[in-house]
Amino acid sequence: MSENKPLVAVNNIEVIYDHVILVLRGVSLEVPEGGIVALLGANGAGKTTTLKAVSKLLQSERGEVTKGQIEFKGQDTKSLVPNQMVSRGLIQVMEGRHCFEHLSIEENLLTGAYTNKGGRQKIRDQLELVYSYFPGLKERRSSLAGYISGGEQQMTAIGRALMATPSLILLDEPSMGLAPQLVEEIFEIVKRLNTEEGVSFLLAEQNVTMALRYADYGYILENGRVVMDGEAATLADNEDVKEFYLGLGGGERRSYRDVKHYRRRKRWLA
């Protein structure tokens, strides 16, 4: 993908939950410095698990990377814990947003600066930067996060991650449960953060249309395996992707859908 060393390199990992449930069966992917990479796939494909393996949050879910390795900035991350990943510049925004409900928006943002060793002024500056991307949050800074809208919560969660001054944000299903207009607004901000602040993104999404519009590169995950990857534009043009993920299948094909589905799947997995 790029000549430089990638920011994150996931190398053929296998993940097992509770010692028995095999969920990822050899996933490899890369996020280049400055890239937006989409991790696509249906519900249950293993997107969240992949992100949590990278951010180390898996440890707290009785999940374990049993094979393969994950490098961040060229370093093996095997022995690291989540707060060490955050101090090194990698942070995850969890699916479902997970704001601290009984903390105000501003307090939520400030918790993101826990590992930020820059001192008071640096943290204030960072807060202003976050507010400049999310002016709506500044207006409602003292509202409890439990009472704000889903869109505001998603913005709060992204802003909170930004407070750690990350070089890579793992963003899990930012579009979930949000109106299309709002989704677009959030993706626009992601794009701006990428170009203006140089933050890289690994984006897990079921909303393939939207994700491929903003990402440079994409991986498609099925049943814990990467079945296809490529430049975003190439993927968006691919017939299989169009049919199964973008919902653009032709009318007459519909009746054969299941048959074709099966055949195509076979081809992908081969």
């Binding site: 951010s55 949050l57 707290s60 879910e61 009785r62 814990v81 989540p82 707060n83 990943m85 955050v86 101090s87 942070i91 995850q92 925004v93 969890m94 997970h98 704001c99 601290f100 409900e101 009984h102 903390l103 307090e107 939520n108 400030l110 918790t111 993101g112 826990y114 590992t115 409890l144 439990g146 009472y147 909170r160 991650a161 407070m163 750690a164």
Partner: protein, 299 residues
């Protein structure tokens, strides 16, 4: 009805309620940060008081005995985190609760094993006599000790509120109590915060233990005053510092008033169960307690 007498009962009830609040506070802190009901809080009160009184009996000056006991409680917190809690991360809360039951017996044993199981008098130099000035002006008997205890408890709560609401660690603690996983995801080190909160609970246990110790003598039964904190917790809300205080005052004054003014009609002994009745009524009306964090439900 004698108004002076009424107020005397009310005020001394409230002041003794502060003592319940102090014990409840220890529970609240740990519950807030980890969602765990720490069954061992009573044992921590006992251990702290016993350690303190034995250091005093060795002839150490009070400030040194106090500092050493604080140190013991902090070290204990770190050990509990490292040896017990860290191995139980992500286990269901009931498992953590069971672990604190085990811890309770362990600490009770430890306290009496290292020290002994005698009753020790503890003299903090605060007299349990009526405040002369108040008596002169109003005719009420209000104990000096109660007033001092209330002032100490009040200051402790003030300091804790400032820590929880104005500091980075306090904010992180509240974040942890809202959502462990999210706290972890933003880089808050749970292990360190748990050690911190157990240490704070240990300090609170020491204050409670010292004050109760002076009143009742330092002995095994200190471990059981934890039961007195239960209705306070239910009434105030398990995760509210303010709730622990207000509920302590309510229950303290409520039980004394009930005993004095209703007792004669029903044959007395109300004091013993009144708090539980009050707590149960509150459970019906407001399950999260008077000041507990509202359970935020989204549609």
């Amino acid at each position: 009805m004698d108004v002076v007498f009424f107020f005397e009962v009310l005020i001394s009830g409230m002041l003794s309620g502060v003592m319940y609040s102090l014990v409840a506070l220890g529970f609240v802190l740990i519950y807030k940060a980890s969602g765990v009901f720490n069954f061992a809080q009573g044992a921590m009160v006992l251990l702290a008081a016993l350690t303190f009184v034995r250091f005093l009996e060795m002839g150490l000056p009070i400030w040194l005995a106090l500092s050493l006991t604080l140190l013991v409680m902090v070290v204990l917190a770190v050990l509990i985190e490292k040896l017990v809690l860290s191995h139980l991360v992500n286990q269901p809360l009931i498992i953590l609760f069971m672990a604190t039951i085990g811890l309770n017996f362990f600490l009770e044993g430890l306290a009496q094993g290292v020290w002994d199981s005698q009753v020790h008098g503890l003299d903090l130099g605060i007299e349990d006599v009526p405040l002369a000035a108040v008596e002169e002006v109003t005719g009420m008997f209000i104990s000096v000790f109660d007033v001092v205890a209330a002032v100490i408890a009040g200051s402790l709560v003030l300091v804790l509120s400032i820590v929880f609401h104005k500091t980075k660690v306090g904010r992180a603690l509240r974040a942890v109590s809202d959502d462990h996983q999210a706290a972890m995801s933003v880089g808050i080190p749970l292990d360190r915060l748990w050690a911190i909160v157990w240490a704070i609970a240990g300090v609170v246990a020491l204050v409670a233990g010292a004050l109760w110790g002076q009143r009742l003598g330092v002995q095994f039964s200190l471990s059981i005053i934890a039961l007195k904190a239960l209705p306070v917790l239910i009434l105030g809300g398990f995760n509210s510092i303010l709730g622990a205080i207000v509920a302590g005052l309510l229950i303290g004054s409520g039980e004394k008033l009930a005993e004095v003014f209703l007792g004669p009609y029903v044959g007395g002994g109300i004091e013993a169960f009144f708090p539980y009745v009050l707590a149960m009524l509150i459970l019906f009306i407001r399950p999260e307690g008077l000041f507990g964090d509202k359970i935020i439900e989204r549609v």
